[in-house]
């Protein structure tokens, strides 16, 4: 039901600086569709420069496909710069909100315990559910998700990965 992130060798993080203007996300996603590139997640947001956005794309692709994906992205006029990030030299995080079924007190305290261990936050407690925020690598979120699955996951929302290279001062 939920996409699981398997961080195998073919898993890549692509970081792109793009013009911050209407239609850019459309051009990028349309390119992926037209050339059958498989995208696992894509996030877009503002950067330190007002007129630029950063797109972080994760994909499971072999080297040849990744090479084409990067080159085709670079060809887009609104794309300023594209880098494949070395996951060992990159900080990357994903945020997820997980609404878990929890009616009886034992379940509730178990979930709260797990959330603490995973350094998550309890965002909301209702009569039948607890909503937890977990931030981390996709693996960590998968691990938490697998742990609480037996209680029943009512709803789940993941943001996709956001990433920056470690150290240095790179734009």
């Amino acid at each position: 039901m939920f996409a699981t992130t398997v961080q195998k060798e073919s898993w890549h993080i692509v970081s792109a600086l793009v013009e911050n203007k209407p239609g850019v996300l459309f051009r990028v996603t349309n390119l992926f569709r037209a050339r059958s590139f498989n995208i696992e997640s894509i996030t877009v947001g503002s950067t330190e420069q007002q007129d630029l956005s950063r797109m972080t794309i994760t994909t499971n692709s072999d080297e040849k496909t990744l090479d084409q994906l990067v080159k085709q992205l670079r060809k887009l006029i609104d794309v300023i710069e594209v880098k494949v990030l070395d996951t060992d030299k990159t900080v990357y995080r994903e945020l997820s909100l997980i609404k878990i079924r929890a009616v009886d007190p034992t379940t509730r305290s178990e979930i709260v315990n797990y959330a603490t261990i995973f350094r998550g936050n309890i965002l909301d407690i209702g009569k039948e559910t607890i909503t937890v925020e977990i931030t981390g690598t996709p693996d960590k979120i998968d691990a938490f998700k697998n742990l609480v699955e037996l209680y029943g996951i009512a709803q789940l929302s993941r943001t996709g990965v956001s990433a920056l290279p470690r150290g240095g001062v790179e734009s």
Partner: protein, 559 residues
């Protein structure tokens, strides 16, 4: 100044001398401003033709061809032409009208999200939200269309933006931040290319469309002559190299010249110049070029390794790369014997197939007609084609002598392209004869451009090899579907001589080689368009043939 006026002035500043188009509700302000323009407007009968005309113009002028259409159906009618230009990297600038800003997204009358529709087949697109943006956008649009790997650019202008009056500034210089088309090939890669070429025993040049787009004709010839390399081309690269040159071998591919398809498999080093290893040229990607070294020159980095992994990549304008390569090679090369075994093999193959491949047994055949056409046309005549059997026959039997005088819809394979494109080419170079090598199926699709050819005094010659069949489809049905014909017969309709006559053009039926010769001579003298209707036997196939999904080694040379 209004936005519409600014558009016209911006185009004038870009040196535009002709625009092809058709007005409608959403581009009325543009057409009003057009009355005072210092360039020519050519009114088409269908917007698809406007895009093809702009494309034909662009391929001959090697600068952006411009077309206008209104919103909605006017704009969507352009799409086939835009996609054709995109597939063949041709610089066209399409300017469409759009519903007023406040109506966008309201499903207004004649509203289409044309930017969205055109996205996969445009290099870039613009939609000004205020009139003041127009001058800079047009300058950027032309720059993007013409530079690097050329391609179509769309400018979609809402009607109220055309009407708005603001102070205009026309920029002298523009910069597009994410776009750096001027790349030079890496010098270390160049050194490796020199080494590979010096050590190759059986080198071959595969000239692609990039040579024509870059105008690198003399540079290509210099390389071929210096190293004594036989030159094959892709179909799009047909005419990048004079086909009567002692090193020429003609196009490879699905309907390539037999000797070209044969020799490229025997080579040990391929220099692909501005070519993209398309399936129609090389057959199976994995099979092609096995055991050979490949040097790939292209201006588009994304072409490197897309269809074919290569040994050396020279990314940059092929004209500049060829120049550098020739300069570096000429310091090292010892005059190669012009009678080496490899060049002997070239002659041997040409001779073998000249003796082996028989023409279809009829008084008039495609081969005979096209040889006759070549004989009677001046070397600098411009030739384009429709799509299908006529196109492949042109590739096989019509030799291009002056480089850059042949083009066709090679990538998208757009039926109906040739005739309007030939009119665009005529507008670009009015003083040379322009011929559309046509089939009836394709000519049918855009034959109403006869009105444009006659009224705008752009007389072209439609060389119509008429079998009243969708001939290539029929050939595939004969070959792969046990002759079960489906949807291919045109049942002797229409009468093309009468069609020509109805538009005030000249129609001549040529039923013998003698009549054909007379017709071509009459057409060359005519000051109106001429349709030469040449009855071709509907059973005549195009050979050689490399079936789809097979390799060049599986070429079939006859029935």
């Amino acid at each position: 100044m209004t936005g519409a006026k600014a558009l016209i002035q911006a185009l004038e500043k870009e040196g535009v001398d002709v625009v092809f188009g058709l007005p409608g509700g959403a581009n009325l302000p543009i057409y009003d401003a057009l009355v005072d323009a210092n360039f020519r407007h050519i009114l088409v009968r269908h917007e698809q033709a406007a895009a093809h005309m702009a494309d034909g113009y662009a391929r001959i002028k090697r600068k952006a061809g411009v077309c206008f259409a209104t919103s909605g159906p006017g704009a969507t009618n352009l799409i086939t032409g835009i996609a054709t230009a995109y597939a063949d990297s041709s610089p066209i600038l399409a300017v469409t009208g759009q519903v007023p800003l406040a109506m966008i997204g309201k499903d207004a009358f004649q509203e289409t999200d044309i930017i969205g529709v055109a996205n996969p087949c445009t290099k870039y697109s613009f939609q000004p939200r205020s009139a003041a943006e127009i001058p800079e956008m047009i300058k950027k649009a032309v720059y993007i269309a013409e530079s690097g790997r050329p391609g179509p650019v769309l400018v979609d202008i809402p009607k109220d933006v055309q009407q708005a009056t603001v102070d205009m500034k026309f920029p002298e210089l523009i910069k597009v931040r994410g776009y750096n088309p001027n790349v030079e090939a890496d010098l270390s890669e160049m050194v490796r290319a020199v080494e590979l070429l010096l050590n190759a025993e059986r080198p071959i040049i595969m000239a692609g469309g990039g040579v024509i787009l870059s105008g690198a004709f003399s540079e290509l010839q210099a390389l071929a002559e210096l190293v004594k390399i036989p030159v094959v081309s892709t179909f799009k690269g047909k005419g990048a190299f004079p086909e009567n040159h002692p090193l020429a071998m003609g196009p490879i591919g699905m309907h390539g010249h037999a000797e070209a398809n044969k020799i490229i498999l025997e080579a040990d080093c391929i220099v692909a110049v501005g070519a993209r290893f398309s399936d129609r040229s090389v057959g199976k990607f994995d099979e092609f070029g096995k055991g050979m070294s490949i040097i790939h020159m292209d201006i588009d980095p994304a072409e490197i390794g897309k269809n074919k992994s290569v040994d050396v990549a020279l990314v940059g304008d092929v004209k500049s790369s060829l120049r550098t390569l020739v300069k570096m090679l000429s310091k090292k090369i010892i005059k190669k014997d012009s009678d080496n075994p490899w060049l002997k093999r070239r002659k041997e193959l040409i001779q073998y197939y000249a003796e082996t491949l028989k023409d279809y047994p009829r008084e008039i055949t495609a081969r005979k007609s096209l040889k006759k056409l070549r004989e009677l046309l001046p070397a600098n005549a411009i030739v384009t084609t429709e799509v299908g059997q006529c196109q492949m026959w042109a590739s096989l039997h019509f030799d291009v002598i002056t480089p850059g005088t042949f083009f066709s819809s090679t990538g998208l394979g757009t039926m109906g392209f040739g005739f309007p494109a030939s009119i665009g080419a005529k507008a670009a170079r009015p003083n040379v004869p322009v011929v559309d090598i046509a089939g009836d199926g394709s000519f049918n699709m855009t034959e109403n451009s006869l009105a444009v050819s006659v009224l705008d005094k752009l007389p072209v010659i439609v060389f119509l090899m008429n079998n009243y069949m969708l001939g290539m489809v029929a050939q595939w049905q004969r070959t792969f579907y046990n002759r079960r014909y489906s949807g291919v017969h045109q049942h002797n309709c229409p009468d093309y001589v009468k069609i020509a006559d109805a538009y005030g053009a000249q129609g001549i039926r040529a039923e013998s080689m003698h009549e054909l010769e007379k017709a071509i001579k009459a057409a060359l003298k005519s000051d109106v368009a001429t349709v030469i209707d040449i009855p071709i036997d509907p059973e005549e196939d195009v050979y050689p043939f490399v079936a789809p999904g097979t390799g060049l080694k599986d070429m079939i040379t006859g029935a």
